[in-house]
Symmetry: C5
Subunit: 359 residues, 5 copies
C-alpha cells in the first residue's frame, strides 16, 4: 500500500540492488496482519467455499475441472505465498512480481497461465490522497488466483454474485471471473477520476474569485494525484487492449466482448484524466493571470494615490518655505486660493484617471 501523493515509492526494489534476482520479499508498506485465504470452487449448480490455512488445501480444487478462485489477502507471509506459487506451478519471476508491489501494471503470458498486475486506486474522502495497492491476478485454465496487499472489501460484489448464483458469473469460466474482478477495479478509477474532476471544478471558482497561496498548493497536489492516476491507467489500457484482441488462448471469444467493454471504459478514464490535466494546467494559467490582475490593481491604487498627493503636497511644501517674501503670504485670500489650487490639481488628476478607467 503506497501513498500516491509523492511519486510511487520504489525504495524496497532499490535496496534489493546487488541481491541475486529472484529473491522474493514483500516490498510494500502495508501493516503486518495475518494472511486471509478464501477459495471458491463452483459451477452452475454447485458452490464450495473454503478458508484454507495452507496452500496444500487448495490443491484439491486443482484437480476439478470446475472454475476455482483462490483469493489471497495479505502478502507478509513469504513462506505461505511461496507454497501457493509452488502448488499452482508459477514461474520464479511471477512469484517475485507478486511480492514486489512496485510493479507497473502489465500482462505476461506464461503459456500455462496469464499473469496480470493491476493497480487498485483508493482515495481518502477527506484530503483526497490516493492510495495505490497492487493486485496480481493469475488466470489459469480452470483456476484464478488473486493477490491483494491487505484484507479488503473490494471484491465483495463479486463474491456476493458467486454466492447468489444470479447473473452470468457461475455459468462462465475463470476468464469471465477475471473480467468481473477487473471491472470492479476500473469502476474505482471512474470514482477517483470523477472526484478529481469535482475538485478541479471547485478550484476553478476559487481561482477566479480569490486566488490564495493555498490554491497554488491545491493545484500542485491535484497535479500529483493526476500523475499517479495516469501512471496506473495508461499501462492498464495496454493490458486490456491485449486481452480484448484475444492474444491468449485462455480467454474465450465470448468473454473478449466483455474485455472490449472495460477496455472502452479504461479509454474513457484515460481521456478524463488527460482532459483534467488540460483543465488543471488551464487553472494554473488562470491563477497566474489572476495574480497579475491583482498586482495591476494594487499598482493602480498606489499610482493614483501617489499621483494625486505628490503634486498637492508639493504645493503645500512650497508655501511652507521660510522665505521672508513670498507672494500672497500676507493676503487674507492666500490660504483659500492655495487650497483651491490643490483641490483643482487633485480633482483634475482624479478625473484624468477616470478617463483612463483606472478608478
Amino acid at each position: 500500500m503506497k501513498k500516491a501523493r509523492g511519486p510511487r515509492k520504489v525504495r524496497r526494489r532499490a535496496t534489493k540492488a546487488g541481491l541475486p534476482p529472484g529473491t522474493a520479499v514483500y516490498t510494500g508498506d502495508a501493516p503486518a496482519m495475518p494472511v486471509r485465504i478464501t477459495a471458491f470452487d463452483y459451477d452452475q449448480d454447485r458452490l464450495e467455499t473454503l478458508t484454507p490455512d495452507s496452500a496444500q488445501a487448495c490443491s484439491r480444487f486443482l484437480e476439478t475441472r470446475s472454475p476455482t478462485w483462490v483469493s489471497v489477502e495479505g502478502l507478509q507471509d513469504s513462506r505461505l505465498i511461496q507454497q501457493i506459487c509452488d502448488v499452482f506451478g508459477l514461474h520464479a519471476l511471477t512469484h517475485e512480481d507478486i511480492l514486489n508491489v512496485a510493479q507497473r501494471p502489465k500482462l505476461e503470458d506464461f503459456g500455462e497461465y496469464l499473469f496480470i498486475v493491476l493497480d487498485a486506486l483508493d482515495q481518502d474522502p477527506v484530503n483526497g490522497d490516493i492510495t495505490v495497492r497492487q493486485i496480481s491476478l493469475v488466470v489459469g485454465k480452470n483456476f484464478l488466483l488473486s493477490f491483494q496487499e491487505t484484507q479488503s472489501e473490494l471484491f465483495k460484489g463479486v463474491v456476493d454474485a458467486i454466492h447468489s448464483g444470479k447473473g452470468r458469473v457461475r455459468k462462465e469460466g475463470v476468464d469471465y471471473l477475471a473480467y468481473r474482478i477487473m471491472d470492479v477495479i476500473v469502476d474505482h478509477y471512474f470514482l477517483v477520476a470523477d472526484r478529481l474532476s469535482q475538485r478541479i471544478e471547485a478550484l476553478e471558482e476559487v481561482v477566479l474569485s480569490n486566488p490564495a497561496r493555498e490554491t497554488l498548493e491545491e493545484i500542485y497536489h491535484l497535479k500529483r494525484a493526476m500523475l499517479a492516476t495516469r501512471r496506473s491507467v495508461w499501462p492498464l489500457r495496454e493490458v486490456l487492449g491485449s486481452l480484448e484482441r484475444g492474444d491468449s488462448l485462455l480467454v474465450t471469444p465470448a468473454t473478449r466482448v466483455f474485455f472490449r467493454d472495460i477496455y472502452d471504459h479504461t479509454v474513457s478514464v484515460v481521456e478524463m484524466v488527460e482532459s483534467n490535466r488540460d483543465l488543471l494546467s488551464g487553472i494554473h494559467d488562470l491563477y497566474l493571470s489572476s495574480l497579475n490582475n491583482k498586482l495591476n490593481e494594487v499598482m493602480k491604487v498606489l499610482t493614483v494615490i501617489a499621483t494625486i498627493f505628490m503634486p498637492i503636497t508639493f504645493i503645500a511644501s512650497v508655501y511652507g518655505m521660510n522665505f521672508k517674501w513670498m507672494p500672497g503670504l500676507e493676503h487674507p485670500w492666500g490660504f483659500p486660493i492655495a487650497v483651491a489650487l490643490m483641490a483643482c490639481v487633485g480633482v483634475g488628476m482624479w478625473l484624468y484617471f477616470r478617463t483612463k478607467s483606472w478608478v
Copy 2:
C-alpha cells in the same frame, strides 16, 4: 443530456460501481418524459409510417426485406428499451451502452449488426454552453435503430427526405440512411466549431484593446468548450474512418464513398478545433502580455510622477527648515529663484523621460 462546460459527468456510471455488470439503467439527466417511437418501413415506391407503443409492433417490419428505421426518443422507460433490444436481438452490452449515456463515441461490430455511439453537440446561442447528447445507432441488415435521450427535431431533415421520396434516400439501404443521420450530426459540429471561431475572433479584439478580468473567464470557458468538442470529435473520426475503410460487410462499397465524404468533414472539424486551440492559447499569451504592458505603463506613470515631485518637494523642504540663518531667506529674489530652480528640475526630469519615451 449533459452540460459540457465542466468535464462530462460520469457520476451515474460511478454509482453503479459494485453492481453486477450488465445492469442497464438510464444514466443521463434528461427530464422524464414519455418515450416517442417512430418506425419507417420504405422502399423506392412505398412508405409505411408507424408510431408503435410497444416493441412487438415493430417486429412485423423485421420480416420485410425493405429498410426499416425505428427512431426511439427518450430512454427513461427501461422496460420498453429492454423489449426493443430483445426484439432486434441486441447483445446485453449494447443494451447497457444505449442506456449508459456517458459512452465515448465508438463503433462496435457484433457481426449481426453495427453498434455506433455518437455525441450530438448543441450549443446554447446565448451563453455558448455546449450540451452533449448521446445518440446510439444500431445498423442491421435491413433495419436501423436510433436512440436519443430526449424528443428532438434533429433528424427532421432526414424524415422529410424520406417522406418526400426525393433524392437517394428511398433508393438506398439502411447504410445510406445511417450516413444521412451521421451527416446531420457532423454538420452540427461545424456549426459549433464555427461559433467558437467567431467568439475567439471577438475575444481577440477585446484582449488587444482592453483586457479585463471577464476576458480571462471567457478564455477559460472557451477552452472548456473546446475540450468538450474535442473529446466528442476525435473518437467520431475513428468511427468514420473505420466505416470508410469498409471494415464491415453491412456497409456497401457505394455507400463507403459517402462515409469518406463525412470522414473528410470530420477531419476538417478536428483541424478547426485544433487550430482554435492554438489561437486560444495565443490569445491567453496575448492577454498576459497585455497585462504586463499595462503594468509597465502604470509603473511608468508612477515613476515619472515620483521622480519629478520628489526632488522638487525636497528643495521646498530644505527651505522649510527653521534655521535662523539660511542663504537668501531675507532676499526678495529668494523665493522666485527657489521656484525657478524647482521648475528647472521638474522640466529637466520631464525632458529626460521624453528622451526615454516614457511619456
Copy 3:
C-alpha cells in the same frame, strides 16, 4: 476566396446543415463575374485552343486520345459547372466538393479519375494578409479539368509553355500537366513562407530594441498567418506523398519522379513553417522577457529616486518642526551642516546603488 487572417471561414457549409447532402452550391465569397472556360487539346505536333461557352463544346475533345486541359475560372454559374461535371462523368460528391470551397486539400481516387483539391495561397504584399483560394483538379485518362474560384493569372506560365511547345509539357500526358500546375502552386508556398521568414526576422530586431504594443499584435497576426499556411500545406504533403508512391494507375512511373520532386519541396515548406513557428514563439518569449527587463529598469529608477530623496527629505522635515529648542537652529553653521548631511546621505545612497550596478 477567403481571408486567412481569421480561421478559414466555413459558414456556408454550416448554413447547409439540414439540406440533403449532394446539394451543390458555390460557398465561397469571390465576387460574381462571368465564368471563363479555356480548353486546350494538344499533342507534340498540334495545339487546339478553344474558349467554349457551353460544356457540350468540350465533349468533342473527350473523344480524342490526345491530352485535353479544360480550365474553368469562376464557380458562380452552378448550371454550367453541373453540365461540365455531367459531360466528364464526375461523381455527385466531386461536383459538390468543387463548389464547396471550404474543402481540406485531399486526393480522392474514383477509379475513372483522380480528384485533387489544393489551396493556392496569395499574400497581400502590403499588409501580409494571406488569401486562400481552392483549386480543384480532375485528372482523367486523357483529360484534366482545373477549377478556380476567380479568373487569375496563376497558370500563365503553364499556358505559355503549352503555346511555345518547348520543354516536356507537350510531349507528356495529363499527369505531367497536373505536375506542372501543382509545381506552380507549391512555388507560391515558398514565396509566402519566405516573406513570413523575412517579417519574422524584422520583428526580431524590433523586439530586442524597442518592444511596443504593436509588436505584440504583429506577432499574433504572424501566428495566424502561419497557422493558415500550415493548414494548407500539411494535407498537401499527404496528397503529394500519395501521388509519389504511385497509388493510382493514372500517374505513370516517369511522372512519379517529378511528383517526388515537389513532394520534397512541400516537405521543405513544412519545415520552414514549423521552424518559423518555433522562431515566432521564441520571439514572443523574447517580447515578454524584454517587457520584464523594462519593468525592472523602470522600478530601479523609481527605487533609486525614492531611496535617495526620502531620507534627505526626512532630514529637512525634522528641521522644519517648530519646536522652540532644537540643536543648532540658532547656529550660523546649522544650515550648512544640515545640507552637508543631506548631501552625504544622498551621495552615499547613489554610491551604494552603483555597487549594485543599478545606476
Copy 4:
C-alpha cells in the same frame, strides 16, 4: 567516466575529426591506472578463475565449451585491448566503440557475437552529481567480455554468485550471465531515479514555504541530472526490448523471460524519470507563482503604507504653510482637530484595506 551535470562531453570524438575512421583510442577521462583483467570459466560443477596479464592467456578458455567471462577494468592500455579484440575476433568498429566511451547505449548483432553498450549511472551521495560510465558487453556463443572504464565493485554481487555456486548462474549460459550483469545496472538506475524523486519531494516543501535563489539553481541542476538519466535510459530500453523479443539466436528462449523482466524494470525507470520531469516542471511553475505571490504581498505593504501616510502627511503639510491667515491656527483646538482628522483618514484607509483583505 564523465560528469553528467553538463551534457555528456564528446570532445575526444570531435578532435578525432579528420583521422581515418577505425582509429581506436580511449576517449574517456578516467585517471590512468593499470588494467585489471579477471577471467572466469565455469560450469555447474567447476569454476576456474584467472587474472591473466595478457590476452593470449584468455584464449585457452575459448576452446572450452563452458561459459567464460572475461572482465576488463580500465581501458587506457590500447595495445592490450587490441590484443583481446583480436583473440576474440571482434570487428574493428566494435574495438573502436569499446574505447570511444561517448557511445549511445546500443545493441549490435555481428552474427558471431552481440555487442551491447550500456551506461552505468553512479550518483555522488553528497551533491547528487551523476557520473556516467560506459560498460561494453560482448556476448558470444560461450564467452562474455565486459569492459569498464575503471576498476569498480559494480559486479561484486555477480562474482560472488559465481563463486558461491548458488542460484541459477552456474547452471545457465553466458546469456543468463549477461542478464545478471544488466540487472545490476538497471537496479542502479532505480537507486538514482529514487534519490532524484526524494530531492524533488524535499524541493517541493522549500518552494511552497520559502523560495530562494538557490532553489532555482537546485531546480535547474535536477533538470540536468534528469536529462542525463533520460539519455541513458531511453536507448537502454530499446536494447532490452530487442533482447526480449529474441531477435538474436545467442539468447535462449528461457533467458528471454528474464530479459522481459528487466525490460519491464527499465520501462518503470523511464516512467519514473518522465513523471519526475513533470513534477519538476510543476515545481518550477510553483516557484514562479510563489515569487509572484511574494511580489504581490510586498506591493500591498507598500501601497497600504503609501496610501495611509500620503494623505495625512499632506494634511500636515497644509498646516505647515506660512500663510498669515489660516483657519484655526490661533485656536487652541486647532491642533487636536487636525490630528483627529489625520487619525480619521488613516484609520479609514486601514479599514478600507481590511475590506479588500489586503492587510
Copy 5:
C-alpha cells in the same frame, strides 16, 4: 553558402516561381570563382589523379572498372556542370537539385545511381555563426561524384588517405568512399554541437549570477543556431538510416556496417541537439525567474525605505504645522522626544522587516 543565423534562405528558389521546372541555375550566394575539378581513379595498386578542365576528360575513367571519384568544387559554371551531368547520365532533376542548393538533405535512388544531398555545417569560431553548405554526392556503380559550393579543404583527410594508400579506402569500392566522405561531415556536426554545448554551459553561469539584456539575445541566437543544426541533422539521419538498411544494391553488405556506425553517430548528434534545446529552454526559464527575483529584491528595497521614512516624515510634518498651540512645542524636551519617537518607529519597522527576512 548560407548563414544559418536566420532561417535558411530560399529566395532563389522562390524567384524561379513560374519558370518551367527543370531550369537549372545555381541558387547559392557563394562568391564567383573558377570551378575546380579533381578526378581520382584508383585500385589497391594504382592511383591516377587528374585535374580536368572539361567534362569529357572524365569520361575516360567511366570505362575503367576501378573506382573513380570526381570532386567538383564550385557551381557557378552552369555549362560545365551540365556537361558533367550529361557525361555521367544524370536525370534532369538531379542536375537541377545539385545547383539549387536550398535542398533538404535526402537520398534518391535513381536505379543507376544514388543521389545524396547533405549539409556540411561550418561554425565561425568567433561569433558562433553557422554556415550551411550543400554537398551533393552521386554514387554510381564504379564512380562517385561530389559537388561542393566552393573550394574547400573539407575532404583533405580523405584525399590524403587515398594518396597514402593506407587503410581500407583503396581496397574498397565507391560505397566505402562515400562512407568516408559522409563520416567527415558527421564529425563536423559533433564539433558544432559540442561548441553549442559549451556556450550553453557558459550561459548558464551568467544567467544565474548576472542576467542582462545581452544574455537574452545570446539565448535567442543559440536557439536559432540549434534550429538550423536540427534542420540539417534530422533528415541526414533518415538518409543514413536508409543506407544502413541497405535499401539500395549499390551499397555492399560489408559497407553497411560502416553506415550503421555513422548512423549511430548521427543519432547521438540528434540527441545532443535535442538535449541542448531542453537545456536552452531551461536557461530561458532561469533567466525569467532571475529577472523576477531581481524585481522582487528591488521592490523590497523600495518598500522597506518607503515604509520606514513615510511614517517618520509624517511625524516631523505634524510638528511642522504652524498651530499656535501644540503640545510640547515650548518644552525643552519636545524635540528630543519627537526624535526618539521617530527613531523608535524607524527601528521598529526595520526589525519588523528583519522578521520577514526582507532585509
